[in-house]
Amino acid sequence: MKKLDKERVLLAVAAPVLALAAAFVLTALVLLATGKEPFNAFGIMFDYGVKADSQVYILNKATTYYLAGLSVAIGFRMNLFNIGVDGQYRLAAFFAAVVGGALKLPGLVQIPLIILVAMLVGAMWASIAGLLKVYRGVSEVISTIMLNSLSGILISYLLVDGRLADLDKQTNIVATDPLPSSSHFFTFPAGGGLDPIWGFIVVAALAGVGFWFLLGRTRFGFDLRAVGRSESAAQASGVNVKRMVLTSMLLSGAMAGLIGMPTLLNDTHQFTSDFPTGIGFTGIAIALLGRNNPVGIALAAVLWGFLERGANRLEFEGYDKEIVGVMQGVIVLCVVIAYELVRRYGLKRQQQRVGAELAAQARADKGIDKTETEVPA
């Protein structure tokens, strides 16, 4: 049994390592094909990525990505494909910024309030897709894609001078009222002229722990995972699958609401028309890469931040910046393939082991049987 466990750990590590190795080889080939020297490119990325200011950048970016990965992973764990994380977090961040900009409460009250608003808005927006799926059988993939579009339109309708935002005529930037400085989230100074590390990383870590605890240690989590593994078996076991779909959509949306918070509370302090987009989709890649596991997602988020940091430098060094996009895409593909291969191998391996152990038992039994049956007629 011990041995089997060790093997499982090995297999768990094998998949991402295999995927990354394959991704690097493929990216190197792409670089070669474009006539560039690949190892120099990797060297530049690594050199640049480990600099102190890069580390701050990576950690801050990873904070956002981690929350995005968790949000997507909640859906993935029960076979729900919440593509709408993108719209959910943007809408959530927008309303949180509006509420935060309108109030002037002490930070201790206002910061939790802003976060709560964001989670509620995210959850409500996600619940539309959940309700449609439960009561109308609409695939959440379709509905969340549409809701992404709708949230963009809703934001641009409201993010207009005189509605919920103000236009700075000089800079052409339309933004919500800035949060009062009391509502700025704390930061960790990183020293020596570097940007500070966002304090929201603590919230992200707590969210990760909460994710692990909820899914791994509670009845609810067990039910959720059961639905993900087999909807029919979960239903027969007494899980109300419809309610579970709705609940996990709400949870995923609430988590999505957190995605915009590090940026809002630690960085921009207001919602502008160029508030980062597309993080929900990055979250899908990160959840895949991290295998829906809170630790895996954290590593994936850091890796992603690292790659993006490297991308900025590669462009500067005269490489096509798209190469990192290619690399990220290749990594996701490799990861999906590698995990599937390793999963199948592991399953087969386990069946073989079980078979082998039982066969050994059987052989032992058979020795006895034979002596019994081989009595001459």
Partner: protein, 560 residues
């Protein structure tokens, strides 16, 4: 209950000395002279197939005489299917030789096998529903006789020659199971097979259809064809086979003639130990109602958008200590009945009362907590999380109960400990509780499910095909578990296609046909044949056995 008037082909009592009849022990005619083989259709010699670590085949020797029905029997997982796949060219043996018509051959693919005159009828039919019989038969064999006139003539010819009664221009979707099977047989014959492999052909048939199939097989035999027949239903094997080879744990353990053995002895050869019997010894039925179903009605909308009743006016009572068996051809509403009682479907009318409490519309989880245990018909879909470890499967369905959780929190340590206990008590053969459910054999998966359900001391157990696809050893254990619990006051709703199991375990029998309970019977007197005919809708009401009028048991009459 003592089964005073038991008749019919029930397993005879075990012979006093099982080993004394003419059984050729493990190694039958090894070096059968290769020259004198004109009457040998297929000879397998020393076949060994290894899958890493898995029991497959080793040292298999079988000689199949031309113009005979040769039965291959063995438990599930004994290696029958692998062997037949080797003979049909789907897998290559690691060692050993295959000789067809005296000539040693190497089969690389089913096409090779067919060109040598070996054809296979699979357990799961491979027919295109939206094509006609003719189209299905010529599909892939267009070169033989074209696709129209000549082909139709040839089909008629084959059909008439072997009494298959196949109509070439009917759509396959309009055919019943037995007809489809005949089309499959015809397909193989059309391609020129002289040796037919039939993989568990009777698993899907009711007794009457089995008889018809056997008539067909005798027809084939009389025309000089050879049939290799895989089964684990021993009564059938004895009635149709000329020779029987028993496989156990991947190797041939005996070759016997049907005239020289009986089901019990065969089964013992298969299992390697004494055979279990499903019969319950005494009645434990009490007066306390446990499950009362009244006027239950459930409708469903079919693919054409027509709403029809899948359950109609269903009423029965199961008392503590009683096993109520429901007989019926699959698809007549049994699955829906189970789902309605489990709360997976909401009935349109009627009531379900468990131990005095109305649960007609209670959620599934509530029902489980209130004491319904469930052994589902399809354990992969409804009973297990295949990719989850055993201990998580032990939690499934009982996540709110001790020892699995406390408050809202799981208790993995306790669940693991209890899984270890189940594995030990219910003899689940596994190297440990961290392996996935998928890596266990069907029988061990089922034992885990039974152990799990029994561990919560249910008031009512719904057992749908509890021993389907389970080997004989596990079957006996499961029967024992049900019997033991029944003695302690468990009420059981048993649904099974195995009529022996149904008759042997039940205190009361009901027959389900097209969503209604159309007949009831006393398991002490009914025969599988009578039950079978009622299942086809041919009989209704009280199925009395004339000879047993005087001994009419209390059970049947009280069921309603």
């Amino acid at each position: 209950m003592a089964y005073p008037g038991r008749s019919g082909p029930r397993p005879a009592p075990p012979p006093s000395a099982p080993q004394e009849c003419a059984i050729e022990a493990a190694s039958p005619p090894k070096g059968a002279p290769a020259g004198a083989v004109t009457d040998v259709a297929v000879e397998l010699h020393g076949i060994t197939k290894r899958f890493p670590g898995v029991v497959a085949n080793h040292d298999i020797d079988i000689t199949v005489r031309r113009g005979t029905v040769h039965a291959l029997v063995g438990e599930n997982g004994a290696g029958k299917s692998t062997l037949m796949k080797i003979l049909y060219g789907m897998q290559r043996p690691d060692e050993g030789t295959i000789a067809i018509d005296g000539e040693t051959v190497e089969l690389h693919s089913p096409a090779d096998a067919i060109s040598r005159g070996v054809g296979m009828v699979h357990q799961h039919f491979m027919l295109a529903d939206n094509l006609t019989v003719l189209e299905n038969v010529v599909l892939g064999a267009e070169k033989l006789h074209g696709i129209s006139g000549r082909a139709r003539a040839r089909i008629k010819e084959i059909s008439d020659a072997y009494g298959l009664g196949v109509r070439p221009d009917v759509l396959v979707e309009e055919l019943g199971v037995a007809d489809r099977q005949r089309v499959e047989i015809l397909k193989v014959l059309y391609r020129g097979a002289r040796t037919l492999i039939l993989d568990e052909p009777t698993a899907v048939l009711v007794p009457q259809e089995v008889d018809a199939l056997f008539d067909n097989l005798r027809e084939l035999k009389s025309e000089g064809l050879t049939v290799l027949f895989i089964s684990h239903k021993l009564g059938e094997v004895l009635s149709v086979a000329d020779d029987i080879t028993v496989i156990r744990r991947g190797t041939t353990v005996a070759s016997v003639a049907p005239s020289e053995t009986d089901p019990r002895q065969l089964a013992e050869l298969m299992v390697g130990s004494e055979l279990p019997s499903p019969e319950t010894r005494e009645s434990t039925v009490t007066d306390t109602d446990m499950l009362v179903v009244d006027a239950l009605r459930l409708t469903a909308t079919d693919v054409d958008g027509v709403e029809r009743a899948v359950l109609d006016d269903i009423a029965f009572t199961i008392r503590k200590g009683e096993v109520l068996g429901i007989a019926g051809v699959e698809g007549n509403g049994q699955a829906e009945l189970v789902e309605a009682i489990m709360g997976m479907r909401d009935p349109d009318a009627g009531t379900i009362t468990l131990d005095g409490a109305d649960i007609s519309h209670a959620p599934t989880r509530k029902r489980r907590e209130d004491g319904i245990g469930y052994i589902p018909e399809d354990r992969h879909r409804h009973g297990l999380l295949l990719e989850a470890p055993l201990w998580e499967n032990r939690i499934l369905g009982h996540v709110t109960e001790v020892p699995n959780s406390k408050g809202g929190l799981l208790n993995p340590a306790a669940a693991r400990r209890d899984t270890e206990r189940i594995v030990a008590e219910y003899d689940v053969r596994t190297p440990g509780i961290e392996v996935t459910a998928a890596s266990l054999s069907g029988g061990n998966q089922q034992k885990l499910i039974v152990g799990r359900e029994m561990s919560h001391h249910p008031k009512l157990l719904i057992a749908a095909h509890p021993t389907r696809g389970v080997d004989v050893g596990a079957q006996a254990q499961i029967w024992d578990q049900i019997r033991t619990a029944r003695r302690e006051g468990l009420a059981v709703l048993l649904i099974s296609a195995d009529l022996d199991e149904l008759i042997g375990l039940s205190d009361t029998l009901r027959v389900m046909f097209r969503g209604r309970l159309v007949a009831d019977a006393d398991p002490a007197t009914i025969t599988p044949e009578e039950l079978g005919s009622a299942m086809t809708g041919a009989a209704s009401g009280r199925l009395d056995h004339p000879a047993d009028d005087g001994t009419e048991a209390a059970t049947g009459g009280e069921a309603r």
